[in-house]
Each structure stands twice: as C-alpha cells, then as structure tokens.
Subunit: 257 residues, 2 copies
Amino acid sequence: MVQSDMTERAAVPPSGLVRTSSDTASWHAVYDGLHDAIIRHRLDPGAKLVEEEIAEVFGVSRTIVRAALQALARDGVVILQRNKGARIAHPTPDEAREIFEARELIEPRIAALAAGRMNTGDAERLHACLHAEHQAMASDEPREAVYHSANFHRLVAGIAGHQLLSGILGDLLSRSSLVIALYWRMPQALCENEAHHAIVDSLAAGDQDRAATLMRQHIAALLGQLDLSERPQRQSSLAEALRDAARVPKGTRVLAR
Amino acid sequence: MVQSDMTERAAVPPSGLVRTSSDTASWHAVYDGLHDAIIRHRLDPGAKLVEEEIAEVFGVSRTIVRAALQALARDGVVILQRNKGARIAHPTPDEAREIFEARELIEPRIAALAAGRMNTGDAERLHACLHAEHQAMASDEPREAVYHSANFHRLVAGIAGHQLLSGILGDLLSRSSLVIALYWRMPQALCENEAHHAIVDSLAAGDQDRAATLMRQHIAALLGQLDLSERPQRQSSLAEALRDAARVPKGTRVLAR
DNA sequence: CTTGCGTAAAATGTATACAATCGCTGTGTT
DNA sequence: AACACAGCGATTGTATACATTTTACGCAAG
C-alpha cells in the first residue's frame, strides 16, 4: 500500500501526459510510506533511518526525504539528532504515560461530539473496522489487530467533526502505536474489543455522556495494560545494545517489502 | 528580542572562535525569529513570506528557511501552498472556535496539575509576568499586553510539568495569538487580567479544583470576547483583497525592524 | 476602458555538490 | 589484554544550480 514499484527510480507515468503538478507536497508520499511502516510495526522503535536508503527506495533525493523526516519528527514518531540522523522514536515510560493521559483527556470529548453527529454511514464504517479487527485477531495477526484498533479511534475522531482535536489525537494515536510496540503486555491476547463494541452502541444511540464515560474507561484500561516498570536507559548510548544485530541482520533493506 | 541587528547580513560572531557546532538545528534561529514576529503581531495574518527575503535577513540559504517554514506550518501558524509559497496563517472563525474549545478542554487540566506542583519560585515568576502584562497595559501597548498574557498561560503549562500537554498548549497559544489579531473586540480594552490574578491565587493555594474551574471560565470568557461573526472568505482567492497594498506599501522589508 | 494573451520576471521545487561530523577499525603503547 | 588515538568510510548539514511554476506586465483586439 506504500508504493507500487519504487525500486526502479522515478516511476515514469504510464501515459504521455506527464502531469508533474499534483498539488500535494511531494514529500507526502515518503511521509505516508514511513508513517505507515512505523505505526504498523514494520519498523521497530529506535531503528535508524538513513536518508540515502530511503531516498533510493522512494526514488527521490535526500532533500525530499529530509522534509518527510522533519515532518515525522514533529509528529513525535521520529527523533532527529543533529549530525546523528533520524531514528524511530522510542518513548520512555514517562512519555508513554503522558500520551495515554492526554488521550484520556481528549478522547472522551471526541466520543461525546461523535455521539451527537452519527449517521448510518458512520455506524457502518465503525462496524466494518470492528470486523476487520476481529478478523485479524482470528487470523492470529495481533499487529494487524492493533492497527485496526487504532483506526477505530481515528474513525471516531473523524465523526466528531472537530478538525483540531482530530489532528491532535491522530498524533497521539501514532505515538500510542510505538508505546504498544514497546510496553504492551501480550498475556491476555484477546484484549477487550468488547469495549469498542460498547462504544459503538453508545455512539449509535447518541448517548453523549455514556460514550464519553466508556471512552474514558477504555483508555484507562489500555493504560493499565501497559507494563511501564522502569527499564534501564534502553539501547542507544550503551554501545547501542549490539546495534540491533539480531533483528536487522546486517544490510537488510529494512524498508519496502 | 529576535535578533540584534539583522539588517546587515550574517551576524559574524564577535570573537575569533567560530563555534560551528551548536547541537541545535540551525533552522531554529529562523524558526524562533519568525515565530516571535508572528505571535507578537509584527507580521499580520495572511502576509506573504518570501523565502529569499527571509534567507537574506537571517544570512542563511533557502534550504534552512524552508525547514523553518515547514516547522511553522506544522505548528499551524504558517500555511504552505505548493508552488505558491508560505503565508502567515489566517484562521477562519470556525478554526478560531476550535482552538479555544481545545484550550477550554486542556487548560483546566493543566491548571489543576500546576496547582499541585507550585513552589515559591513559580509564584514569583507568575507575579512577574502579571506585572509585565499590567505595565504594558499602563503604557498603552495592548500588543505587548496580549503577548504577556499568552506567556502567563505558557508559564502555567510549564509548572504543570506535563511535557506533552504543555507542547500541545504551546501550539494552541501561538495560534490563539493569530485569532486575537483577527477577531479580538478591543472595546473593553482592559480585558480582565483579574482572572489571571485569581488563577494565581488558586494555584498558590494548591486548590486544584478551583484552579481548573477558574481556568475554564477564563477561557470561556476569552472566547466570548471574540467577534466570530462570519466575514466573507476574507482575502486570498478574490484578487487577494488588493494584495495588502495598503498595509505593505510595495517593496517594504516586512521583516527586521 | 476592458479583456485576453504572450512574454518576462520572480518565486518555488528538486537534485546535486561539497563540507563537516560521526563512528568504526586497526594500530601502537602501556 | 585493555586502552588511546589516528585515519577512513559512511552519513549528515548546507549551499547552490537548475527546472518548473506562478505572477506581473505590456500590448493589441474588441
């Protein structure tokens, strides 16, 4: 879904019409590709992002890649260190807590707003999302399930119709994805998408108070399922914990499946 | 406070030591300069920002300026349009409402957190800020007063000790500055910094509930003092409303006083 | 006087070249 | 064997050149 066949350079347009314009900034493609790879856990927290490699994969110059990395850095999913390059963010337990505290503050309001603006199409989309999440679970693909779970929250935010809060929450959800990759306790694998079902019900019923309450409880429960016991400083600074040698064998093209 | 004497080029370091390192990204200087100029209303909403001009003022290449502009765009204080360049953002009434609604949600929580972490130094700084605001008012400099007013909220956020929420609020405050420039009803000029005094009192008393309540009421009052009656689409798209001909006479160096 | 078009100037988009820095590796010393 | 350090390759930082696009201007036709 990232890109079709970017291994071979500039991707010449099929027809004669060149259409060089495209009113969206050209780094959006790189941004989207990296963002997707990050929140779907195809790149691990802390992983190094080398500009040249990314540029080659997407068939653009480092100029464009840098713009994309800077945007991702402002989203909080990438960390930029001067002269040291870019890495996938690696939230500390404190940061993880702050992210979920912020969600606990914002999402109940979003749920309440959404409850007041639901239409049939919205309900349909929410159910489709829940179905996808359930199916991923059934297929034993927890990564996909977590991804769809986050999408559920994005959908609700879209329904709420508050551009600003939706945008803020979007960033929080992206970072939540990193937090889950790091601190999620798998044990009770079948989390509790019951919560999502209950939220959909309250939304469909237009019950703003109940939607807000359920959402707040849901976020609190999620936070409770994280293991935020202080690990040591974690890789980086101590010989980089063997340079991730195990998970990225050596010259593995870590991007582009 | 932005820069000392930027009319003449690159600001050569005073001593022989060149100090090329500086672990902060080099576009920060440009970012800070522009950001300060924007939130202090030295640049008006909607104003064009030409890369080459800015580059000349700060003595850097367009590469750096572009990075700064992109960062400002993600803050929501600058708008980037492909092939059309950058402009100071010009929030619509809807966006203005959303900004203050978000503040109404977030700032009470921040106030409550701050009330639980006050120390004497904090109280001192808050009082100093209030004093600066009052003095600016007395000197008939409403711009400065509004600036210090925003700083008051930034200070409270700093005391709260929640990095994430502070960061989010920082962006909201920057955008609020634009909203105020556009929609503030001056009539009752001496706004009501009584509200700020009352908030400081509740913070110093460590009364979390009262701090939260007062803050919520304060934000609501601010929102009420805006005139968000729908103006037409406002400049841009209709011959740019004469290209600001009135306020920027022609080749005026709009930056650098 | 207005409208339309074509050319020129200005501004932005992108790639590339080169400089600066980092981090690894191998060599020598204690 | 452990450590320090010099050198080199890899990577990032910044400026600049060039392509593309927008915008401004002038001239002619209606």
